[in-house]
Subunit: 443 residues, 2 copies
């Protein structure tokens, strides 16, 4: 399936960088790519200095959404968010801009990003039709393919394509008793268009054309979930599964065409359904990497959806999700600020990291161990360096000065670690104990 | 075991209030209390207007730690945190003050709190010995019991008693290869004292005296985990389990004495060990309610430990924890500010709520359903009311004004819900679908 891709020197050189970051051999990584169980997003026109593999046996990756909205157009702020994403160790970004000069914004982000960059081309197609023809409902198939070609040519590394919404899955949706209908922007644009024009979704009908463009530019396709549940009551329902089945079929077509493919997933899922959702995707889409948005484990977390999403994301990644899309505290209520973005990135990083530790990924707990040792030594400089967000940790520590040396103001002189130091000063630091190997006294 | 307690009118009246909040019959609640599988913290000298049951088949409860540190003494700020806890729907608070006039602070909190109030009396005993005898190491057993009696008389509803640290569990600890020794303040004070004085822990040695005070004032005992793991490498290790076994035995003694009892638990636990930890506690402590601190699923979340703890807390509560102690973003690095406390409370509420939905607790997803309907209608006032923190949600929404009516600045005119409204305006809202009953199309 991927012979051409795997022979390509530019791709192989980038894969080598990705493998190095992962501390595995490039051969191992390329085997997973060959099996369709891992992707390395990379447009053949781009040089990515910090690429990543997404999929089986790899660390969990996180994506940071950037981009303007029709109401918030500030390229500088979006580039600041990109810098923050790079700084905090995100793995990919998506430019989801919906306002301003989309081409200019995209090109600026592509130019500035050392990480893979994704887009949702239907946005630009809809905005273009709005401008050119007065309504996105007047969009034509050619508008869409022009945009795909243009964005591909600009160097976009991965495309979200909402191709699972077709007449068949739409019928299931219309017969369903969903509470919150469709909460995907791309999905809503396409359903509206299909209903108004009485036509099949061009991204489905002409999926071979999508594949042709993707193959020519070596773009990874992220098959979008236009029918993802927008509230926990709708989780794992008939429309969601109907669409997932369509994506499963399209996955096979993409693989046959030599196009790398990942699957997008929900959304809002209660805690107890997360495992099942991960298993379903892996089964229906034959082990294709799974890219989830959250999932949010409750609907009422507005203002804190980075937390709600981190709970779901940690569990999802533990059970098989490969790629977490971050959520910010602003989700559902406003366009995120730069600070919202920081909160969102870190929350997502925590979720991914917690899952990687639980999955027993080699070396995943290494930084935790260093942090624990730094705590034992009350070495605050080292604690700051080990923290997931050193800047925030430093700010907190410096904001509040203890009277006693070497502690923090939480416990002051009654710092438990300080107290133990005084009574067990010579106790050596334990050597590494694999997280999986536990005391047996309780069996 | 609990005949005397269950006959007490003051206790029964409070139990009735707790049952009402839970929407179960008082009889059902009292049956769980009688079996030791649920507690209702209440000092017989206190009137609690907003009491709660903690334990089997009840909603997951959350506790908010308040209190000064040796470095941060500001009663007003602590009372503000209390008000916030009440406002945001916390279920209990603990006064963990370590600085200033401890009696005055405690009495102020007790007077102001409509929620059950807990303390860790060993703190006052240690501080008192420090003042009176120059060092907490010179503390005498009588100092401890004087404090217990005094705090009981003040009306404290539940005591954390670190009685599981004894010569036996300490020996296991000293032989262990722990990375981070002891991270419990109470635990560190007692281990230090035991080592210095070569004596048994008075809270263990004279546990009958503890029980006598608890019984006389009808105080609930929270058996503390002085040997909880302070990093994920130490999770579920020999000292932790050795102490838990001691607590299991003391649970039976407390029950025999007619004293309500809950068990405290870790701490730092990787995601994949949480289920096992919950099962171990329920087994070793014969179904006694479990009160966990976090658990934190990684050690490197400094500045964001409310998130790290919410991930662990949600999973812990799903697998059996009954009571979550909140964590703030300041954990490990400074005494929390009022805003830290807000962040911590909401994160903990989200965790508890997500778990209750996943447990299938009756009515748990009701507010989520209302939120989803408010979203469908783009009714922002109602969304704000349904949110877990209406104030924050409102601030976010108002901070960013869209040009298009009825949307937010995230998507502006391309709001998916708005788009679907225009193409499916007459689609009725689905009637309730139990979260457990899902589409079968994928089987």
């Amino acid at each position: 399936m991927y012979n051409e891709l795997l022979r390509d020197e530019h791709f192989r050189a980038t894969a080598a960088l990705a493998a190095e970051k992962e501390k595995i051999s490039c051969e191992t990584l390329l085997k997973s790519v060959a099996a369709g169980r891992c992707v390395i997003p990379l447009n053949n026109r781009r040089q990515i200095t910090s690429p990543c593999g997404i999929g089986e046996n790899l660390s969990t990756k996180i994506n940071v959404n950037l981009g303007t909205s029709p109401d918030k157009i500030n390229l500088k702020a979006e580039l600041e968010k990109l810098a923050l994403a790079v700084d905090l160790g995100a793995d990919a970004v998506m430019d989801l801009s919906l306002g301003g000069d989309l081409k200019k914004i995209r090109r600026s982000i592509l130019e500035a990003s050392p990480l893979p960059v994704g887009t949702v081309p239907i946005y630009e197609a809809a905005m273009g039709a709005q401008k050119k023809r007065g309504s996105f409902l007047k969009m034509e198939a050619e508008d869409i393919f022009d945009v795909l070609e243009g964005q591909a040519c600009d160097g976009v590394d991965f495309f979200t394509i909402h191709c699972g919404i077709n007449k068949k899955s739409l019928e299931v949706f219309l017969k369903s008793r969903r509470l919150l209908d469709i909460v995907s922007r791309g999905g809503a644009i396409l359903v509206n268009w299909m209903r108004k024009n009485g036509k099949e979704n061009p991204l489905f009908e002409y999926f071979d054309r999508v594949l042709d463009i993707a193959r020519r530019y070596r773009i990874t396709l992220s098959l979008g979930d236009g029918m993802r549940p927008g509230c926990i009551a709708d989780a794992t329902d008939a429309p969601q599964i109907a669409e997932l089945k369509e994506l499963g079929k399209l996955t096979q077509r993409a693989r046959k065409a030599g196009v790398q493919v990942i699957i997008e997933g929900p959304g809002h899922i209660p805690l107890h359904e997360i495992k099942k959702n991960m298993e379903l995707e892996k089964k229906i889409c034959d082990g294709a990497p799974f890219y989830v948005l959250g999932p949010l484990v409750t609907d009422i977390g507005a203002g804190y959806d980075h937390i709600t999403g981190a709970i779901g994301g940690a569990l999802a990644a533990y059970y098989g999700a490969d790629f977490l899309c971050y959520l910010t505290p602003a989700e559902h209520i406003r366009h995120p600020s730069v600070e919202d973005t920081r909160q969102g990135i870190v929350a997502s990083k925590i979720a991914a990291h917690a899952a990687d530790i639980a999955r027993g990924l080699k070396g995943a707990a290494g930084q935790d161990r260093l942090m624990a040792i730094a705590r034992k030594h009350r070495d605050w400089q080292k604690q700051i360096r080990c923290a997931i967000d050193p800047k925030k940790t430093k700010e907190y520590k410096l904001s509040s000065k203890p009277k006693t040396k070497g502690v923090c103001t939480m416990c002051g002189e009654f710092c438990s670690i300080r107290l133990i130091d005084t009574c067990l000063p010579t106790r050596p630091i334990a050597k590494g104990r694999p997280t999986g190997k536990k005391a047996k006294s309780h069996h």
